[in-house]
Amino acid sequence: MNRRFTPKVVTANRLREGDVVYLTADDRWSQLHNEAELIEDEAHAQLRLLHAAAQRRLVVGAYLADAKPGPNGPEPTHFREEFRTRGPSNYNHGKQADLAN
């Protein structure tokens, strides 16, 4: 019997900048979690992860992270992934600052 598959997004860090990115359905790397492709099928998730891992000049450490659907696109379910969408809590640095500009 199949356990229900928890939806996933493919996420990684960019090779040059090191910042967090998400794989979109049209094969872009977006800085926005809500632009990620929400993957609901396990086999498809593995294929997308392979696709990401092959882009070794662009990204580092691609992995599948749990996510859930939201009104504006996929949302993280775990606090670690939520922090990765923003940046540190002690300074206005990282994504929360970069994306505001």
């Binding site: 090779l15 090191g18 910042d19 967090v20 922090f83 990765r84 940046g87 809590s89 002690n90």
Partner: protein, 556 residues
Amino acid sequence: MYSYSDFDEAFVRARVAQFSQQVGRRLDGSLSEDEFRPLRLMNGLYLQLHAYMLRVAIPYGTVSPRQMRQLALIADTWDKGYGHFTTRQNIQFNWPKLPDVPAILGALADVEMHAIQTSGNCVRNVTADHFAGAAADEVEDPRPYAELLRQWSTDHPEFQFLPRKFKIAITGSPNDRAVTRAHDIGLRMHRNAAGEPGFEVMVGGGLGRTPMIGITVREFLPVADLLPYVEAVLSIYNTLGRRDNKYKARIKITVHETGAEEITRMIEARFAELRPLFGGNDQKLLADIREAFAPPAFRNAPVDAYDAFYKADPVFRSWADTNLAAHRNAQYAIVTVSLKAHGATPGDASSDQMRVLADLAEKYGHSDLRVSHEQNVILPHVHKSDLPTLHATLFQAGLGTANVGLLSDIIACPGMDYCSLATARSIPVAQELATHFEALKLEHEIGPLKIKISGCINACGHHHVGHIGILGLDRAGVENYQITLGGDGTETAVIGDKTGPGFAYHEITPAIERILRAYLALRTEPSETFLQAYRRVGLEPFKAALYSSEGEKDAA
């Protein structure tokens, strides 16, 4: 301080050139990440949660004004205008971009600094008492030995692929400010019956998943035997250490599994083999190194102005009472500059603050600066007559916080705000504790207290040896904080006791307040410190305060 020899200079420059090419090959795709990762780690470059992080060694915590200014320049040019001082006397830059790292390493090499062996399964940065060469209680300045160990361990061919990382700490004082008992090798200087200086050698201490206090394998090691003895310890560890299981690979497990008696015997046997191979060149080198650590030319001048100012100015007095330590020259003081302004990130200094510290060290501090494992900066040699002016400048730069050794002088690892290993955040917990108790104006009443926070079980924040330790965990997808009490990182080192179930992020500050209110209520007199009170009454009264009042939180 020690200056690079031609050999050091050539080695560091060669490594920068080598790593620059490796970065180039990674960027053009000829190296995969799997191939590149060990190469970047060998050079202190990590990939963290939001960005790369470069960890730069500050050997035995000693840094010159020129080096401090260069760190400020690096922070401004390639990072976000600040640096983070760590519990291993390193500085971390949290936002470098990969293509810039070769230039940063070049800028470090320009001031005799590098990031080599700040990661990987090798001998890491050798740490030392941050009051070395200045402390009134010191047997001998331990830094020449630390420098000797640094030179010996750097690129040592036998010890580049140890079972796991290896940390050495050294203190020249009976009062241990370097947490030597929680290191793979701890070295504590003392004198034998004949008055000769030597080391107590402790092996197998460490925090992390399996916290252990080191055992003494040699009560007294003559200083001339240091390198062959340390080499013997590493040699035994390299042979016996568990390479099959990362969590059992540290020497503390080797010591535990082998037994204190047997491992001591093996070390001594190996030492007997190695000792004759050291023909005396190490001692010649040590003699040269010693010259580089000659004490500064202390000024002889009256200290009346200091005494008068101390009586007259309450702000200065408060700072002097907490942030100064006894210097071996009675006209001098050791100044600890707090990097723990209430609400600030423990251990962070802005580039402007780094430059102020460099200027002050040159003007008033015999051009000497230290960073402590407690994430503060030390001016080890300041004449007392200069303290009022120095304090005024520090105050203007946001560096005048009078809290060293008090509640808000918290050690906190970067936690899940930066670190990819973390299971919870540390920094905001430290910030909240500091601001909360500042608002209550309680920290001076509470008195000496060491709170140490780690954001994961690896214990970079030394929580096991905090009087109050806080460990951040992930419990079913929620941040949860476990408390330990009664830990001690000094010469009377002990691992703290777990209180029981942990607390949620928003519950941790009230929980700490309950502990401290219980302490205030049960101490025999204000001079009985938290740690003394804990040793007298044990865990139970604190447990009762911590857990029984949970349901009455609103009434508290």
